[in-house]
Structure formats: C-alpha cells, structure tokens
C-alpha cells in the first residue's frame, strides 16, 4: 500500500495497515497542515449525534464512531508525545491570542483545563514582540482578575519566529535565565499557575517545563498556539517518529503523474525536486491512500478550475460538484453555514472510495482520508482530530 501525505490522517492509515501486516510506504512532498496544529485535538464541539444531525455531509456519517478509542490506542502506541484528555467531554484551553478553545485532548504541556482552575490566580505571560496579543477580552471572559496578562521583554534582541525561540529554550541555561527574569519582574506568591506561550523548548520541552517549574516553584503550562505554531512542529516531528518506530519508510517527493488500467491505479511517478539530480521513482501498489490535505498542503488547488491535484478527482460541496463554480460563489457565506471554500472536498462512498459526478467510483483502489474529504472545515470545525484519526484508521483498514 502507498499512502500519499504524511499528516495525521496519512500516518494513521499507514500505522493501521502495517499493524495488520501490510507492507506500507508513505510518499510526501513536504510537511502539511498537521505541522500547524495548535496542540489541542478536537473530536466534536457539541455531541457527536448533534454534529451528524447539523451537517448531513459530514465525514462522521461514513465513519464508525465506536472505533475511536481503538484507533487512538493504536496511535498512542507509536506516537512519542503524551496526549491527555477524554473522549466524552470537552476541556477549555486558553490560546496565545487570548481566546478560549474547546477540545477533547491536548498535549501534556498544554493541558490546563480552565474549569479546574477555580479561584486560583493565573499569571499569563506574553513574550513581548512575539505574543504581545494577550487581550483584556479574554481576561474578562475568564472572570476579570483571575488571569493577569503581562509581557516579557526577554527575547527582544533575538526573536524572529517562535520556533527559534523554542530552540533557544531547549538549553537549561537559557531556561534558568528566563526564570531569573520572571522572578525579578513579578511577585510570584499570589499566583498558583504560570502560563507561557508555547515556546518552552522544541525537542526537550517536557524536561524544560520541569526545569522551569523547579526554578519558579509553581506549575507552568503553555497556551494553545495559533500562528507559527511550535506545538504543530513538535506534532509533525512526532508523527515522523511514529512512522520510523513502525518501520514505515518515508519517500520524499511529489507525485507527478500516475498510470492506470481501466479503473485501477497501477503505478505512481514520484519526483524529488529538492534533490540535485531530480531523480524520479516509480511506486507500484495494490492500494493507494490519498491523504494530501486541503489548500494549505496542496491536496486541492485551483488552476483553471478547482480540482484534487494528484489524480484530478472532482470536488464537491454538499454533494454538489463545484468544478465549474465561480470563486465568488465558493466564498459566499450563508448565515448559518460556513463558507463552501473550506468545506469542499472529495465525495466518497462508505468505503472512502472517491466518487465522480455520476456517483460512480473514480478509481477502485484509491481511498481518501483526512481533511481532503468534503463536509467539514479543517480550520474552524471542532471535529478535525476525530475525522483525521477515524478516516485514516478506516482507510488503512479497508486497504487490507
């Protein structure tokens, strides 16, 4: 089996298939939207049944929601970072823009559920030029005086991007310096918890969190990231590591074209543009899993018309083909519905095989999973983690 794309859904599909003894390889041209996630993982904003009811084309209609714990256990077996949370309820997390995010799971270093804070006082620090955006509005939301927002000029002379700050904080000496600055600038005794932007270390962030807690003597948590997200980079690195742990090879390169016999894909041609010799490899397989993401990762593009990029499959919005829609129509927002642009994607049958305008299978040995499916908006929807995980699991399962 060949999986195209190494985001969360692609990795899940690869892990599932290889756990059933199938020989798997992952092809990717680069990183995708999974490297931008904020560190929290959503399954559903309200209840699962309400999500399905509100949105008749949501991928949850095609997926078996009962296998979620099994899928997550398999994922956790290979995934090196700790993820905390529960399936049944949402927790409230503060983001570095000062907004509150609801999610079922979060990375260990970010798992501060605001409902458990109670009357304790929280000091939330922004790192001056990077995250000076802690606004008062979220302070009000969380009960006025409970959270104190302040910024720290510590990084003023160096930072450009959060990932660089995080790498700098991978050294215990730098963490000690930061702790000294915090201690000299703030009276810490009224506060029970310290919240920092998610820049506390890159590869060794759990150790650095403990280090800082040791220096300051109070629990330290990171907020949820928004832009240029360090948790996303940690997440994608951990995904790569889980593929490595399961001995699944990653092939670097972009899928350029393919060959097919009737409705069966026989081989893919992959070209690695980042290597000097521009070498081309061909990949043959029984099944192909399409996990190429939406616009950000290049799984969907508009050239002359909106199309899926690898196999040229048609796209749908609420089961309606959109390839000859004008862009403006895709951007139009109805009052109760979100924009079609981010909701459009592939229409598939129960086995995640993409369908064409006439409801026929496009290629019988292609499965689609992840954000590329129609019916949910991966940037706003509170169901993205559940969809990636379950559709990946199912695509890997079906391929065997």
């Amino acid at each position: 089996m060949v999986v195209i794309g190494s985001g969360l859904s692609g990795v899940m599909a690869a892990l599932r298939a290889s756990s059933q003894g199938k020989k798997v390889a992952v092809v990717r041209k680069g990183w995708g939207a999974s490297a931008l996630t904020g560190g929290v993982f959503e399954i559903s904003e309200t209840s699962l049944s309400k999500t399905k009811e509100d949105n008749p084309t949501h991928p949850y209609h095609l997926l078996d929601l009962e296998v979620l714990p099994t899928a997550f256990e398999l994922f956790k077996k290979y995934f090196p970072l700790k993820v905390q949370g529960s399936y049944t309820e949402n927790h409230l997390f503060l983001s570095d823009m000062g907004m509150v995010r609801r999610a079922a799971f979060a990375m260990e270093s970010q798992f501060l559920d605001f409902r458990t804070v109670g009357r304790k006082k929280v000091l939330a620090l922004g790192v001056h030029p990077l995250h000076s955006s802690f606004g008062n509005f979220s302070g009000d939301f969380l009960g006025g005086e409970q959270v104190t927002f302040a910024s720290l000029p510590w990084f003023q002379e160096t930072p450009l991007l959060p990932s660089m700050v995080a790498k700098k904080l991978d050294h215990p000496d730098e963490v000690r310096k930061l702790a000294q600055q915090i201690k000299s600038k703030f009276q810490l005794h009224p506060y029970a918890i310290l919240l920092l932007p998610p820049v506390l270390g890159f590869d060794f962030f759990s150790d650095m969190k403990r280090e800082l807690e040791h220096h300051l003597g109070l629990p330290v948590y990171e907020t949820v990231a928004t832009y240029h997200s360090v948790p996303g980079l940690r997440f994608q690195k951990a995904l790569d590591a889980s593929l490595h742990k399961a001995s699944i090879p990653i092939i670097q390169g972009k899928v350029k074209n393919f060959e097919h016999q009737k409705k069966k894909i026989t081989l893919l041609r992959v070209c690695d543009e980042s290597s000097p010799q521009l070498n081309e490899t061909t990949l043959e397989a029984d099944t192909f899993v399409l996990a190429t993401g939406k616009f950000f990762s290049g799984g969907i593009q508009k050239q002359k018309e909106f199309l899926e990029t690898v196999f040229g499959l048609p796209l749908f919005f609420e089961n309606e083909p959109i390839h000859n829609w004008e862009s403006q129509k895709l951007l139009k927002k109805k009052f109760f519905k979100s924009q079609p642009l981010f909701q459009c994607g592939l229409k598939t049958d129960k086995n995640l095989i993409p369908l064409n305008e006439f409801g026929e299978m496009c290629f019988e040995n292609v499965r689609a999973c992840g954000t590329i499916l129609q019916g949910f908006d991966p940037t706003h929807d509170g169901t993205r983690f559940g969809v990636q995980l379950l559709s990946g699991y199912k695509a890997g399962d079906m391929a065997v």
């Binding site: 680069g30 995708g32 490297a35 700098k168 980042s274 290597s275 290049g298």
Partner: protein, 138 residues
C-alpha cells in the same frame, strides 16, 4: 503676446539642446558598466530572462515558518546577525528581489536543502538561495 512667449520658449529649448549635445561629447558616461556602477550601492542589477521566469515559483512562500525549524544554520547563528530561509523566501513574494538585506545569511547557508524538503507550497528554496548567492558577491 502669445506668439512672443512661444518664440521665447523655443529659443530656450534650442539653447538647451545645443548645450546638451556639446557637453555630452565632453562628459561621456554611458554604457551598462557605468549604469550598474551608479546603482551598485542600491544593489540594482539586471535580471536575465530565464531568472525572471523562475520568479513565479519563487513567490509561492506563505511564511508558514516550517522551513525555519529545519535549518541548522539558523540555530548556529542564533546570537549573530542572521535571517531565516523563510524570511528570504518571503521577501520574494514582493516585486523586487531584496538581495541586499539577505546577504549576511546566505554566506552561512550550507545548501543542505533541509528547508526545501518540508516546504508545503514547494518553494524552490535552494534555487532562491543560489540566486541570492550569485548576486550578493558583485
């Protein structure tokens, strides 16, 4: 009155033309080398047609910052003056190549291509860096 004004203007113009040709003969400073020398401090340079064609792919950067996490040179030069591959690529989304502000970084870049391997929009980072290197040295 109007005719007089016109006549005066024409005489002025003719005088300027004669002066121009006369002085041009003595102060001859023309040609590409002279032109480039005049603009050297602003780092304006001629672009070849093929280079210009590559610009459409150069301008794909969306400043997501993923490439920065892969660049070891960015880490090593942390306490010095540096830029990141993202900043260089992003400067090519504007109309003019900002070679001048990118020189310090490319001197350290080891052309390891680690940045290019993760870019989601397929920005040819290596070829941008080579372009900057080629034009940084004149």
């Amino acid at each position: 009155m109007k005719g007089l004004k016109l006549c005066y203007a024409k005489i002025n113009l003719a005088f300027a033309v004669i002066l121009h040709f006369a002085f041009k003969k003595w102060f001859r400073r023309r040609g590409l080398t002279h032109f480039l020398k005049a603009y050297q401090k602003d780092r304006v340079f001629p672009l070849l047609g093929e280079e210009r064609q590559k610009f459409s792919s150069y301008s794909n950067c969306i400043f997501c910052g993923l490439c920065v996490s892969q660049c070891e040179v960015t880490d090593l030069n942390f306490y010095q003056k540096f830029l990141t591959p993202a900043n260089i690529a992003f400067s090519y989304t504007k109309s003019l190549p900002e070679v001048s502000s990118n020189i310090d970084f490319v001197a350290h870049c080891s052309s390891c291509r680690a940045c290019e391997k993760v870019c989601p929009t397929g920005v040819p980072l290596n070829s941008i860096l080579q372009f900057v290197k080629a034009h940084a040295s004149f």
